[in-house]
Symmetry: C2
Subunit: 382 residues, 2 copies
């Protein structure tokens, strides 16, 4: 049976030819950039720099040296959160929609007594607005952490307005952009975002193993790892300036080549993809709304995420059924965002999360909906 | 001009077909292991586990769950060093031959007052022995950190005997195996090694971006990063057991497939490669010894590393000349191991490091030696 992959919010299934080819080309000139001075090493060093420039430009023309390569979005968030908090203390605000990649570092730092933590919920029940943040500000709030798009519901938070507020209040603003990549355009400068984390393997369609932290702030995080950087080799201490201060050890150079290709691809096709994802998401939501046994948690067509539950079924029962009977890959259960589930009362049931992409066809969605209807109709059998 | 790549200690240039193919095969079934429950995700989860088993077996049959995937060797060392020191304090011993991936974390921890640090030098002037460690032990020494093979000289330290000593003294023993992979066999159990770090891109011939920490100890490091693990998703805190406790965020799954293939390849060809590297290294050393202007720092034929200086030349002058005139890629300057250079009095000149592989031909080495002879002969021209 043909695979219908609807789990793109976990990782993209489709990888463009150029993304794969860039990796292969990089392997052919395998060497360690920034370590040696021979041709291959210099070529790779230049390309790594070119990719920093590409990312810096993509997110609003920040400084290329402030693009820190990481293994994934989580590492980027840890560098930012732990690194800022080594310099500042007080109150941190995060939202109920955050992923464990933000919640776990912050709860750990709260447990250690390094910060106090305020978790905010949305007045409109759907997404976080400037007002939600504003009314929760404390005198000593120095950092606000909000995801661009929830990985559970696909709803977009008002990051532009929140950035404006933080800027006026002289509060640092960090955005987890794991789910935003490829779906929304973000300008860190005009939106007053100081720290932005993302990975390549979701919206930028690269293999897993590469991500970055983008810094648009004079406050630079203190390193959380130390090691060889190819610079200031005579020193027994970490260099003080980025990118080297925050990048220890050998970089994943072939994946950096892929990331360059992925960003190029996404920038080229952005509007076309956006339109497709919007159309397909609207289509799916309209079909699901016709099934009265379905509870929908998604109120946005922006990222292709559509989350729901089917009456009388646990979400994992639904996802297992779709997998076993139709080879449809969706994600059931909890989505590494416990407070989101708590907020929606789905800590026990979890949610069925469909995450489609610009590659998803209406036909695939028809099969999905047919399968769900069949499940509802024959629920006594399951 | 054909490239003669002699910088394999920085990263391997040759990547076997199976290592590359494994990566592409993995990309074809792109999904996020440990996150969703559908077929592709489960297939990848099983393969990730299979790779943990492979690594665990390779290093002496340790527990597979104690194999922690990282982005590089440096991350593995940071997890171990910082993570152990969150549980223990006192004196740590490291050698003058360590890389900045060990020296910088330890000096940072010393600066923070978390440990006292003893740097030991070898009595035999070449490599660290059990005796060197023994005579430096303090009452409160709880950790000894030694590399298997120096990245600067290629000399092997007596890790088996040092392990025995640490075991008897109930001291934790950590080995930086960045340069040992593919060249020596290590059994963590019989050599009483508690923590071993390595990367894939050197001796295991994978692309850059994957490494691991192997733990053979009941003392488990405290995490240095926190985030989603796909397990205990309802918890706002990190799971307590490895591998998840020490692996936050999406894994570099396609690179894990490559690592499996790389280890398989190396295990199959180990003896043959070892013989080739030994022969070629002996050959190169014998030729270099005939040039009286050369100072050799290498006393081992085990890893293909041969480091030297040429009288009246800075090491970077030599490496630049080899690169520009003969397209020979070696590394000059400092090699991220400042205390090694201090020990040999080469902090100013650096060293020329040739690092050959089983793929290097005698003809390549003849060209290298010819080039050096030419440099010496015509030194007035440079």
């Amino acid at each position: 049976m043909r695979l219908i992959y609807l789990d793109n919010a976990a990782t993209s299934h489709y990888k463009p030819f150029n993304v794969k080819y860039a990796f292969y080309k990089a392997l052919k000139k395998s060497s360690n950039p920034g370590r040696s001075g021979h041709k291959l090493s210099l070529q790779n060093s230049l390309f790594v720099w070119k990719t920093r420039e590409k990312i810096a430009k993509h997110f609003g023309d920040i400084k290329p040296e402030n693009v820190i390569f990481t293994k994934n979005c989580t590492e980027a968030l840890n560098i930012a959160l732990q690194g800022i908090i080594k310099k500042k203390s007080g109150n941190v605000i995060a939202s109920t929609f955050e992923h464990n990649s933000i919640l776990r570092p912050l709860h750990e730092l709260e447990k250690q007594g390094a910060i106090t933590l305020t978790i905010i919920t949305p007045e409109n029940k759907k997404f976080i607005t400037k007002k939600d943040v504003e009314k929760s500000l404390k005198k000593d709030t120095f950092l606000v952490c909000i995801s661009s798009i929830s990985n559970v519901t696909g709803n977009k938070n008002d990051i532009e307005e929140i950035g404006e507020l933080c800027f006026k209040q002289k509060i640092l603003f960090l955005v987890d952009n794991a789910q935003g990549v490829g779906h929304i355009k973000i300008n860190m400068k005009t939106s007053h975002i100081n720290f932005l984390a993302f990975s390549g393997h979701k919206g930028f369609l690269t293999p897993q193993g590469i991500g970055a932290l983008c810094i648009n702030s004079s406050l630079l995080p203190v390193p959380i790892m130390y090691g060889g950087t190819g610079t200031e080799s005579e020193s027994l201490f970490q260099p003080s300036l980025p990118p080297e201060s925050l990048e220890s050890g050998t970089l994943a150079t072939p994946l950096i080549y892929s990331l360059f290709a992925g960003i190029t691809y996404i920038e080229k096709h952005f509007d076309k993809h956006k339109k497709k994802v919007k159309e397909k998401t609207e289509y799916l939501i309209s079909l699901l709304k016709q099934i009265k046994e379905i509870t929908l948690y998604t109120h946005s067509t922006i990222s292709g995420v559509v989350s729901f539950n089917v009456k009388d079924f646990d979400s994992v029962q639904v996802s297992d059924y779709l997998n076993n009977s139709y080879n449809i890959a969706v994600r059931g259960g909890l989505h590494c965002a416990p407070l989101t589930h708590k907020y929606f009362g789905t800590l026990n049931s979890g949610m069925v999360r469909v995450s489609l992409s610009f590659k998803t066809s209406k036909k695939d969605l028809d099969i999905l909906v047919k399968a769900i209807k069949e499940l509802v109709k024959n629920k006594h059998r399951f």
